[in-house]
Structures are given as C-alpha cells and as structure tokens.
C-alpha cells in the first residue's frame, strides 16, 4: 500500500523561559492509504503536538514529514496551508464548527476555501451531509444540534475535497457510547471504502475496534 503520510525522526522543543522543553524526542510513523492508526498515550505525552505537526499546523524542530508524497517545509506557511487544503481533513474533540453557519454552510465554507464555489459547492456539501446521515438537518445551526450531529458535520467538513489523510483528535470524547459507535463505523467506512488514511488520537478504548494499529506515545517517544 502507498504511504499517505510519513513522519521521520520528529522532534519538537519549546522554550519556556531559560528552560527548553523536549516534547517529542524523535518519532517516526508511516500510515498507508486505507489504514486506521490510533495514537494513544497519557496526558502530556506529546500526542497533540505530534498530530499538529502531521497536520502541518506546527513545525517540527527536526525531522521530516511527507503528506501524500509532498515534503512539508514548515518555513513556508503558504505551502503548509496548501497541503492542509489539498490533502488533510481534521476532526476535533470540540467539533470546532462555526456557530454562525448552518450545517450546510459549515461544509460549504470548507469547500469554498478549497476553491469549490457556487452551485457545485452547494451540491457537494449537500451530498457530504447526506452521507453522514444529516440530510434533514442541513439548515440547522450547530446550537440546535446534538453532539453526535455536530461531530457528523465536522466529519462531513473533513471530507471536503477528498483528503488523503484525516486527523481526528479525541473524536468520541464528547459523545455518548451509541453515537460514538456510529461515528467509529463512519470512520471505518471512510478508510475501507474510500481508502483514506485515518490517524485518531484517543483515550477511548472503543476506538481500538476499528484500528489496524495502535501507536503509543510516552514521554515524547513511540513506545514499542
């Protein structure tokens, strides 16, 4: 299988006053198309920092990241935005929807940022919402929807532009177990049927049901 995302020897250091904090100490990971990898680890182990680097939201201190065959150069912010736009989708624990936009508009706006506008964007947004089972909630604002429905909008938004990799941060943490199961089933479908690579940062043991592998980070290192 072709690698969707490759991380080699990733380190990340932060300066805090005179002190240098080493959050990541050389992590390497490769995720193939259609593969689901869970990233686990205790709080403060560096999971979120690692996924931020893979998501081109944060630059690594050293090491190398490749997304869909493209080298990530953290010194070029516009290039990072291009990679995020073309190859990456995000699902957040807090959903991070735009509260002033309806479900349809939330998805449509993401499409607009990817250069898809007008009737085409409206049609595609509608289809994505249909796919996550929100056909009858398209014109509702997030405040009028349940946690599970919000997360499904977030997934529909993450699917905009058919990204190669979806990065999900604790996607089931704010959901009850029934809805969490539905979301996991949806993730499984995305990987198996569409061939997307999924990296899921989680503390939730239920996620293991759908993963191919579990990568455990401890003290900034990938545990064996």
């Amino acid at each position: 299988m072709t690698a969707a995302i490759i991380a080699e020897g990733i380190t990340k250091e932060f300066r805090e006053g005179q002190e240098t904090l080493r959050i990541l100490r050389g992590i390497s990971l490769e995720v193939s198309q259609g593969e689901i990898v869970a990233i686990e680890g205790p709080s403060g182990s560096g999971k979120t920092t690692f996924i931020s680097i893979l998501g081109c939201l944060l630059g690594a201190t050293s090491g190398h990241v490749q997304v869909a065959g493209k080298d990530v150069n953290p010194k070029k912010p516009s290039r990072l935005a291009d990679i995020r736009r073309q190859h990456l989708g995000f699902v957040f624990q807090q959903f991070n929807l735009f509260p002033s936009l309806t479900a349809q508009e939330n998805v449509e706006y993401a499409l607009n940022l990817k250069g898809i506008v007008g009737a085409e964007a409206r049609k595609e947004a509608g289809e994505l919402l249909d796919r996550v089972g929100l056909e009858d909630r398209k014109h509702f604002l997030p405040r009028d929807m349940s946690g599970g429905q919000k997360q499904r909008i977030a997934i529909a938004r993450a699917l905009c532009g058919k990204p190669d990799v979806i990065l999900a941060d604790e996607p089931t943490a704010s959901l009850d177990s029934v809805v969490a199961e539905q979301v996991l089933t949806l993730f499984q479908k995305l990987a198996r049927e569409d061939g997307r690579a999924l990296l899921i940062v989680t503390h939730d043991s239920k996620v293991r049901r759908i993963t191919d592998r579990v990568a455990r980070i401890e003290a900034g290192l990938l545990a064996a």
């Binding site: 998501g55 935005a81 995020r84 995000f90 807090q94 735009f98 002033s100 990817k114 007008g118």
Partner: protein, 375 residues
C-alpha cells in the same frame, strides 16, 4: 460563497450594535461639528459670495470682511476710469448701535450701497421693496435680527445711531460670522448716520469686469493706481476672511480637536470591539487555518467586518446628523453637510475602521494553529 465575515458579524447582534453605535456617534460628531464650522465660515463670507463682484478693493491689510478701515470714496472714480471695468461702486460696511424699545442697545452691521439691485444684495428679500431704501430714512433688517432687536414688522421704527428709521423690508439668511444682525440702508443715509467716520469715505469698492477683460492685468493696474489699498479677487478675499477666523479665533483648532476626538472615539470603539470579537473567535480563526485557510483569508474576514461596521455605522450617524439640520436652523445656526464632506467622512470612516482592525490582524497573524486541538 459562504460569507463568514457577514454571518459572524450578525450572529452577535449586541456586539455589532455596540460597534455601530461607536462608529455612528463618531460620524455624527464629525459631521455636525464640521457642518457647524462650515456654516459659521459661510456666514463669514456669505455677502462676498452673493455680491457678484469680480474684484474687491479693500483698505490696506484688512484682515477680514467685518474688520474694515474706511478710505476716500473718491477712489472709485479712478477705478471707473480704467479700461476693462464694467462697473465699480463704493460699499459701506459699518457697525452701528440699535436702540431697542426696552432701552437696551444692540449692534448691527450696516451694509450701504447706492444701488443694491445692481449687486444682487440682499439676495432673499422676504418682505418689502428694495427701492424704498432710497425713499427716506429707511432700513431693511434680516429676520434673524428679531432675536436681538425684539419682534418687528415692515412699517415699524427703530433708532439706529440716533436716527429713527422705518423698517421697509426684511431679508433672510443675511448673517455675519459674529452673528451680529445685518441691516441694509442707502449709501448716503449711512454716511449721515455716522458722519464722523463715513462722510466722504467708503469701506470697499466693488468691481465688475467687462466680459473678456484680462483680470490679472486689470488688478495689476488697480494696485498701481491705488497703492494704499489692497486688491483681491472675490474668491481670495473670501478665503482671507475665512482664514482669519480659523487661525485667529481658535474656532479652527476647536473644530479640529472635536473632529480628532470623534475619530479617536470611533477608532477606539471599533478596535476594542473587533479585537474582543477576534479574541472570542480565535478558535474559529484557528479552524479556518486548519481547514486550509491562510492568514490572508482571515484578514479578509476581519477587513470585511471593519468595512461593514464602517458603512452601517456611517449611515446610522449620517441620518441623524441630517435630521439635525432643521433643529440647528431653529437656533439660527447653519449646519452645512455638502456631499464632498459626506464622501470624505465615509472614506475616512472606512479607513479608520480598517486601521482599527490592524490590531486584530496582528493577533490573528500570531495564532497558534494547534489551538484547534485544545479543549
């Protein structure tokens, strides 16, 4: 395209209202203050604008229309003799005392000409006949004088500089910068009323040029034959009069200060509300970045919000400012809001709101994109 800027702005209606109130207040302050300033300056030169003279000959170094020295009225003969002059007449402008029925005295600015009709003054006669000024000891007062001189009507009498004059007409909008009411009397009558100062003397010579006359050449010749007078075009004389009031009375600084404070209030309110809004929407802006947006996409959102706030705020400030015009007119003040001023204030408002948004731009540029993962 989904208009996130617009939706965000209208989603929090209370905040938007506060922003608009700040902008509207500033716009109104600037328009009203500048409009009043313009009105006062117009009063300072309204007679110059309406006289229709091409050239004004004044006493040496006269600072403005109202502060005059008299000079020999025979100068006008030399002016009339020059080629290129169509008409030249003496004008008297003098402050005189009006005795009121109450026993008090008020001041009036007397304008005296041989032939008012020839110079189009007064330009708004609301009662009476201009020709009556020559038919006896008569006077025409501006309606504004009622506030100072008590109510009067055509046919009433008032004592001006000790002479009992019959009011034969009233005018409108004839005002002076100092708000002293204007009176119009016959040229010789004025000289009789203030003989020590005015006998054989005039305050100005009004000059109308022949069509096609070389104005610069005629003015140079006037300066040559009247070395103890100054010669101005009507425009330059009006400008000199206005400049005097602006620079020497503090009114210019006062207007500038109010406009500056208005702008400052607007910028501070907009900067504050936009910045607070940006801080509260940081996660959303971080999300815009995460889903592929650039800093530029966020700048466009903030910029558009600033421009929308400016435009809506301008409208909300402009309308009440216009509505104040008749109210201010009742207080015998002029509020002049020409379209050039409105456009300038609109453009200024948009620019200042964009400047106010710069603080938010800076904040957004330094967003840690990884904040989207924080709970």
């Amino acid at each position: 395209m989904v208009d996130l800027a617009w939706k965000m702005l209208f989603h929090d209606k209370l905040r938007f209202f506060i922003t608009l109130s700040g902008v509207a207040f500033s716009v109104m302050l600037v328009l009203v203050q500048t409009g009043l300033f313009g009105g006062l300056l117009e009063n300072a030169t309204v007679t110059i604008e309406h006289m229709g003279a091409d050239v004004w000959i004044t006493s040496r170094n006269s600072p403005n229309l109202d502060f005059v020295h008299q000079f020999s009225e025979s100068n006008v003969e030399r002016v009339r003799a020059l080629p290129g002059i169509k008409r030249a007449d003496n004008l008297i402008l003098s402050f005189m005392q009006v005795s009121l029925p109450t026993g008090a005295e008020e001041t009036t600015v007397v304008y005296a000409l041989e032939d008012f009709a020839a110079w189009g003054v007064p330009w708004k006669l609301t009662a009476g006949d201009l020709a009556d000024l020559k038919r006896g000891p008569h006077v025409i007062f501006d309606e504004f004088a009622r506030k100072r001189f008590g109510d009067f009507a055509v046919g009433d009498y008032r004592e001006v500089n000790g002479q009992r004059l019959k009011i034969v007409g009233t005018t409108k909008d004839a005002k002076s910068f100092t708000t002293t009411p204007l009176a119009f009397v016959d040229y010789q009558r004025a000289q009789q009323m203030q003989p020590d100062l005015l006998r054989g003397r005039a305050s100005y010579i009004l000059v109308k040029l022949e069509a096609g006359a070389d104005r610069e050449r005629v003015m140079a010749e006037l300066r040559r034959i009247l070395p103890h007078n100054d010669v101005y075009t009507a425009h330059d004389w009006a400008q000199r009069s206005r400049t005097y009031w602006v620079e020497n009375t503090g009114i210019g600084f006062n207007a500038f200060l109010t406009v500056f404070l208005g702008c400052l209030v607007g910028v501070v309110v907009v900067a504050q509300t936009l910045y607070t809004s940006t801080m509260e929407h940081l996660r959303e802006f971080g999300t815009v970045k995460a889903i592929g947006g650039s800093n530029w996409d966020i700048y466009k959102i903030l910029g558009k919000q600033a421009v929308l706030s400016a435009i809506f705020g301008f409208v909300l400030g402009y309308l009440p400012a216009r509505a104040l015009e008749p109210v201010i007119a009742k207080a015998d003040l002029k509020l002049i809001i020409p379209s050039e001023l409105s456009v300038t204030v609109l453009v200024g408002t948009v620019l200042l709101c964009l400047i106010a948004a710069l603080v938010s731009f800076r904040k957004v540029a330094t967003i840690d994109p990884a904040l989207v993962f924080r709970v």
